[in-house]
């Protein structure tokens, strides 16, 4: 039974945008109980198409032509009041970032009850009972406690579960999920995907799932739509699109998925380590512990030790909160380690300060996660790249010439020098961030989730660039990531962290294909799209 049908839908963008239509000539049907995945890079119009179904387009963006028919009604012709009745009760939505989608000052229970209240359903006590039942259904441990919790007291995965509970409250016919797992780590992602799959089966609900990750698509989709620049380039049943993609763009996206392939083992040579980390400790404490409340102590890093050799890439992987980023930050001294030693060329940099630290710091540079907040929005690229060199005493002119070389090295034009960060795309910005890290000719680069905020295809390009630079400049790299597939692609050795401690360390092929600990195995199992990988490999052989 067709529940939703979209015909020739075009959504016009305001004048002055980079293209005329956010989405053009969109056609698709959605049957009840079906999971439809819309795949595309950021800016492909996939979210806009879904928002149009909810009647939630941003100001100035309007459907131009076409129709959206839901259960016999034309959504585009409905008044705002009629749409209000539809939203939440018949069609509901969950978002990428559950922390910003939940009201931080409202208890979880009240936020769920509010959904019933908005639609005038049930009485107070019934609402609470239903909220409890929903929380239980979405798999939140101890719903009685969770109902009184504020969003910040829950983990990222639990918050997303709360969002799903709210979306399910009135038993909608369609759930629109807009990148619901992109902000979560692999294990949580796998749980949320299982939950959506399970709810679909139990309730016969239709799901529109928006994502850029083909691994996720392979795990849950019944049908797939691939969008590029506002147009549908390919649509069909999931196995057909995934195993036999017709359009070159679909093929490019599928090729860009980082894979857990085995890498050529590097020959082991005995040499002195470039960086020797011994017993690193870092503890965070919140609350004063004096008058108000209990002092909360979080041991973010406990007794972490490893060696990094010249020309080697070590991947530090783990779930969010495992302390992997804290390790990186302690090494570059954005945080003060509480204990342990960090030896670089035999000198302990963990407890240096002032001029000594200034002299050592240039050897250890960092690439940041978010290409949008890691570049000063009010500084031109030339200043972003040169100021570090100038701070270390290089003459202005020389620094500019060097900056141009760096831009070329990371694959950007030298005209980029005069432009501001907002004039670049996310991938280009990350290239600028890499150029900045290289400006001081460091021996070691620490990449903190450097590709996590990028689309898969851009991710692949940036990873290739990093691998190439590492080779050319003989860099050593510490690659911090939650994505094991990315780690597999670039690392020589892997360190797995959990709750501030190293649980497993070893060569990449050993850790990712024959792990010693149950925790590593659970991380590996959580990677989306594994069955698909296998069938793809089989198809390629046959």
């Amino acid at each position: 039974m067709t529940l939703l049908s979209i015909r020739d839908l075009s959504i016009a963008l305001p004048l002055g945008a980079d293209r005329l239509y956010a989405a053009k000539n969109i056609n698709f049907d959605l049957a009840s109980g079906e999971i439809l995945c819309i795949v595309g890079e950021s800016g492909s119009g996939k979210s806009m198409s879904a928002n149009a179904v909810m009647g939630l387009l941003p100001q100035g963006v309007e459907p131009d032509s076409g129709s959206i028919t839901f259960d016999g009604q034309s959504i585009l012709d409905l008044s705002e009041n009629e749409l209000l009745k539809l939203r939440g009760s018949r069609i509901s939505m969950i978002f990428q970032e559950p922390l910003s989608a939940l009201n931080p000052l409202m208890r979880v229970g009240a936020q769920i009850s509010e959904v019933f209240e908005a639609h005038g359903a049930l009485t107070g006590a019934e609402r609470r009972a239903r909220a409890l039942k929903l929380l239980d259904e979405v798999g939140i441990p101890d719903p009685e406690a969770a109902i009184r919790a504020y969003p910040f007291q829950l983990s990222g995965g639990q918050r997303q579960r709360v969002m799903i509970a709210m979306a399910l409250a009135l038993e909608p016919d369609i759930l629109i999920a807009d990148e619901p797992t992109t902000a979560l780590d692999v294990t949580t992602q796998a749980q949320i995907l299982a939950l959506i799959e399970d709810l679909r089966k139990k309730r016969g609900m239709a799901v529109i799932f928006i994502t850029h990750d083909f691994g996720v698509v392979a795990d849950i989709a019944d049908r797939v739509i691939v969008m590029k620049k506002g147009e549908i380039v390919e649509a069909g049943r999931a196995p057909d699109v995934l195993l036999n993609p017709q359009h070159p763009y679909t093929r490019a996206l599928i090729d860009a998925i980082p894979r857990l392939t085995k890498t050529e083992p590097v020959e082991e040579v005995e040499r002195a380590p470039l960086l020797k980390v011994e017993g690193l400790q870092k503890t965070f404490s919140t609350g004063s512990g004096t008058l108000f409340g209990k002092r909360r102590v979080v041991k973010a890093v406990q007794d972490v030790s490893f060696d990094l050799y010249a020309g080697e890439t070590i991947g530090i992987v783990g779930e969010s909160g495992s302390g992997k980023s804290t390790v990186g930050r302690c090494l570059v001294r954005l945080l003060h380690p509480d204990g342990g030693r960090v030896l670089m060329d035999g000198v302990d940099i963990a407890h240096m300060s002032g001029a000594e630290l200034h002299a050592q710091r240039r050897k250890l540079q960092m690439i940041f996660q978010d290409p949008f907040s890691s570049l000063n929005p009010r500084a031109r690229v030339s200043r972003i790249l040169t100021e570090g060199m100038i701070a270390y005493g290089m003459p202005d002119k020389e620094a500019k010439a060097k900056a141009r070389e760096l831009l070329e090295l990371v694959g950007l034009d030298e005209t980029a020098m005069k432009r501001f960060p907002h004039e670049f795309s996310g991938g280009q910005r990350q290239r600028i961030g890499i150029a900045r890290a290289l400006a001081l000719e460091p021996a070691i680069i620490i990449a903190d989730e450097a590709v996590s905020a990028l689309d898969v295809s851009i991710q692949a390009q940036v990873l290739d660039l990093l691998a190439e630079l590492k080779e050319r400049l003989h860099l050593s790299m510490l690659f911090i990531t939650h994505d094991l597939r990315v780690a597999a692609r670039i690392c020589d050795r892997i360190i797995v962290m959990q709750k501030g401690q190293i649980v497993e360390a070893g060569p990449v092929n050993k850790v990712l294909h024959d792990p010693d600990t149950a925790y590593t195995s659970s991380l590996l199992e959580a990677i989306p799209g594994q069955d698909y990988e296998r069938s793809l490999a089989a198809a390629n052989k046959g």
Partner: protein, 279 residues
């Protein structure tokens, strides 16, 4: 820059404010040329109502002085006081706030307690006390107004800096080996600028009001004709010659209104994401 003006002019009130302010500035600059005579000089019989005598369109005050000339010269004083005291207040407040926000910890505690010390005293009362201690000259009026108006600047800047200093580009700058001063001046403050500019435009208005109130109470510079002094001098005759209080009052009202409208327009133009839903 182009989009800045488009967004600014999108707010019609802000454009009106800018027109009024331009007129006031023009009057202040041209006052010595339009009315070369001292505004204190008696030119006609006292209490001449407006529009009764050629050459004296707004009439004369209780001592037979030209009201229009007084308003024009007063505009100069009001704007000067407003502008200079705001600049001085920013010069105190921005460094204090930036240091408190950036270094945090004890520095923050010390600087903020110091700021609160000034904030807990009603600003007008403090200004009166300061002027009672100093001699009432234009310089000291400006100093007194600056001293009472810098604490909000410090608090605003501190808040902005606190949120900016944890941003990744600031961390990247410190990894590039930049010193604290360079990071504050080149990376943090430029990004904190929009709210500071908006606050500054409102502070000019506040300073003009403060100066008028002080002059009204006779605490202003006795040698300088200002709007507040004119209202103060005319208050005894408000029943017989109401226009003598009304006209300078209107001048203050329009100027302060203009500055507030401009502040709002600047806010729209500099923080586009706060006013309209999407960019």
């Amino acid at each position: 820059m182009k989009s800045f003006w488009t967004r600014f002019s999108y707010n019609r009130g802000a454009v009106i404010g800018l027109v009024i302010l331009t007129l006031v500035i023009a009057t202040a600059i041209l006052a010595p040329f339009l009315f070369p005579q001292s505004p204190w000089k008696m030119v006609q019989r006292p209490f001449l109502p407006p529009f009764t005598q050629d050459g004296l369109p707004l009439g004369t005050d209780a001592l037979g002085r030209n009201v229009l000339s007084g308003l024009a010269h007063g505009a100069y004083v009001s704007l000067l006081v407003g502008l200079v005291s705001t600049i001085v207040a920013l010069a105190i407040g921005v460094p204090v706030g930036a240091a408190a926000g950036y270094f945090a910890g004890r520095t923050d505690d010390a600087l903020m307690r110091f700021t609160e010390f000034f904030q807990t005293i009603p600003s007008f009362a403090l200004a009166i006390v300061l002027l009672a201690i100093f001699q009432p000259s234009l310089t000291f009026v400006i100093i007194a107004i600056s001293i009472v108006s810098w604490p909000p600047v410090a608090r605003l800047v501190r808040g902005e800096v606190l949120s900016l200093r944890t941003r990744e580009f600031v961390e990247a700058a410190s990894l590039s080996g930049l010193g604290n001063l360079q990071i504050i001046l080149r990376h943090i403050l430029p990004n904190a600028l929009p709210p500071i500019i908006v606050l500054a435009s409102l502070m000019v208005a506040q300073a003009i009001l403060l100066e008028s109130s002080l002059s009204f109470l006779g605490l202003g510079d006795p040698n300088i004709m200002s709007w507040g002094y004119m209202i103060g001098a005319a208050r005894t005759v408000i029943r017989t010659a109401w226009w003598l209080s009304f006209l300078p009052g209107m001048a203050i009202l329009l100027t302060v209104l203009a500055l507030n409208l401009i502040g709002e327009g600047l806010n729209d133009a500099l923080n586009p994401r706060l006013t309209r839903k999407s960019e």
